[in-house]
């Protein structure tokens, strides 16, 4: 065991839950490392304005994330972002995490806060034509599609609300949805259905994107009839929900059928010494405030666990 790379606690993920855990643990003089695969701040940094975080009247998610990061670092927390985890071993008293570059980090305790991400369709042409006709953000890219005919994929609140907002730019918006009904709130459905620029293609899925330098068209399969048709389109916006970033935990920890981590109220998981918090756990509400609360609980529980473990092994000099 390389003592330089050994920590009391390793937090995986640097969204609000992970950063809060890092703040609490480091402030309690617990040697802590945060490993993060993406940008520090997680989904929080994508929020333009946070106006309901108690004690702060209005702040951008990016700024709040940077303050949390600074707090954690001030208390001595190490943060390594944009890393790729290639292997992790959570069983036993020494947990180990291996990065793609071969570095190995060990710890007594692990707090899992990997968060979630936007779901993609995963069909041919999607990655090649991203940014060249395929988008996942109406606010970002809507104005590139002024007076153009576009499609919106999805049937939830985001899809229908963004379809309506895209009518400010596009001449025609076709919503493609796999079911015969929408999952969105009734008011969102009504607004979309009554909009003169919006059309619907129900029980249908896009099976490929076509184009060379730019998106030129899509292949659509009707799930009811099995019929396949090709449509010309200038753009496609995809809003098909979020998925937890827990693929790397499959078979290592108890997940539910949606891939969310199952936790008890004290944020313990199915493995001793392993805790979880934030958007990747099974829960009803996903807010910065709930993530911060769960991160706190996970850190305090992990702190107790580490103290007991150290006492057991008399690792603390008396």
């Amino acid at each position: 065991m390389d003592t330089n790379n050994h920590y009391d606690a390793i937090v995986i993920g640097a969204g609000p839950a992970g950063l809060t855990a890092g703040i609490y643990l480091s402030r309690a003089k617990i040697k802590t490392l945060i490993l993060n695969e993406g940008t520090v701040g997680g989904q929080m940094v994508l929020t333009h304005e946070i106006a309901n975080y108690p004690g702060v009247e209005s702040i951008s998610g990016y700024q709040l994330a940077n303050i949390m990061k600074k707090q954690a670092k001030t208390f001595g927390c190490d943060i390594k972002s944009n890393v790729v985890i290639s292997h992790l071993s959570l069983e036993g008293e020494i947990k180990s995490i291996t990065l793609e570059d071969g570095k190995i980090f060990t710890s007594h305790s692990v707090i899992l806060t990997p968060g979630g991400r936007s779901r993609t369709l995963g069909v041919p042409g999607e990655s090649e034509l991203k940014g060249k006709g395929i988008s996942y953000c109406a606010t970002c890219d809507g104005d590139f599609f002024t007076d153009k005919e576009i499609m919106v994929v999805g049937g939830g609140n985001s899809a229908l609300e963004e379809a309506v907002s895209l009518t400010k730019y596009a001449s025609k918006v076709t919503i493609v949805h796999q079911f015969d009904h929408f999952q969105a709130f009734e008011h969102a459905i009504e607004e979309a259905k009554s909009h003169p620029k919006i059309n619907f293609m129900m029980e249908s899925v896009i099976t490929s994107f076509n184009g060379n330098d730019n998106l030129e068209g899509v292949e659509v399969k009707n799930l009811k009839s099995g019929e396949i048709n090709h449509f010309k389109t200038d753009g496609v916006f995809v809003f098909i929900g979020y998925i937890p970033n827990t693929e790397f935990l499959k078979g290592k920890i108890e997940l539910n059928k949606w891939g969310e981590i199952i936790v008890k109220p004290d944020m313990t998981t199915s493995i001793e010494g392993v805790y979880a918090a934030g958007d990747s756990i099974a829960k009803q509400f996903r807010q910065v405030t709930t993530a911060v609360g769960e991160g706190t609980i996970a850190a305090l529980a992990a702190s107790n666990f580490i103290d007991k473990l150290k006492s057991k092994h008399k690792l603390i000099p008396v």
Binding site: V45, L46, G131, C137, C140, D141, G235
Partner: protein, 118 residues
């Protein structure tokens, strides 16, 4: 306003000055949105590692960003950020929309490889 820790380019004149004074420049032209922020974050992370590269951002909605938006290399781009890589003032690569760390570093390594003295 871009709330990043990168060097902000505010005008076409400043853009020209930075290209003139730096051999390797990466400019991320975007907004504070979900496709752009991860790219700013990656650039911030890489600043220490790639000291021979000048990392900058520019607001997409700043009229002065015409120096990016009108480049022939971004014709057909329909997703922000527009990320431009300059070598000695010339565009060597341009990407559209979100990129991950591996995509960014492979471009940096390909076009801005640090000089290794024997």
């Amino acid at each position: 306003m871009l709330y990043t820790n990168l060097k902000h380019i505010e005008s076409a004149a400043e853009h020209a000055k930075i290209l003139n004074e730096n051999e390797n420049v990466m400019v991320i032209c975007g907004r504070m949105g979900p496709m752009c922020i991860p790219v700013y974050g990656i650039a911030e992370d890489l600043e220490d590692e790639y000291k021979h590269v000048k990392f900058c951002d520019m607001e997409f909605d700043n009229p002065e960003s015409h120096v990016i938006r009108n480049l022939p290399e971004v014709r057909g781009f329909m997703g922000i950020p527009f990320t431009i890589y300059y070598k000695n003032g010339k565009v060597v690569k341009a990407t559209s929309s979100i990129q991950n760390r591996q995509q960014v570093t492979s471009i940096l390594d390909q076009y801005f490889a640090a000089t290794v003295k024997a």
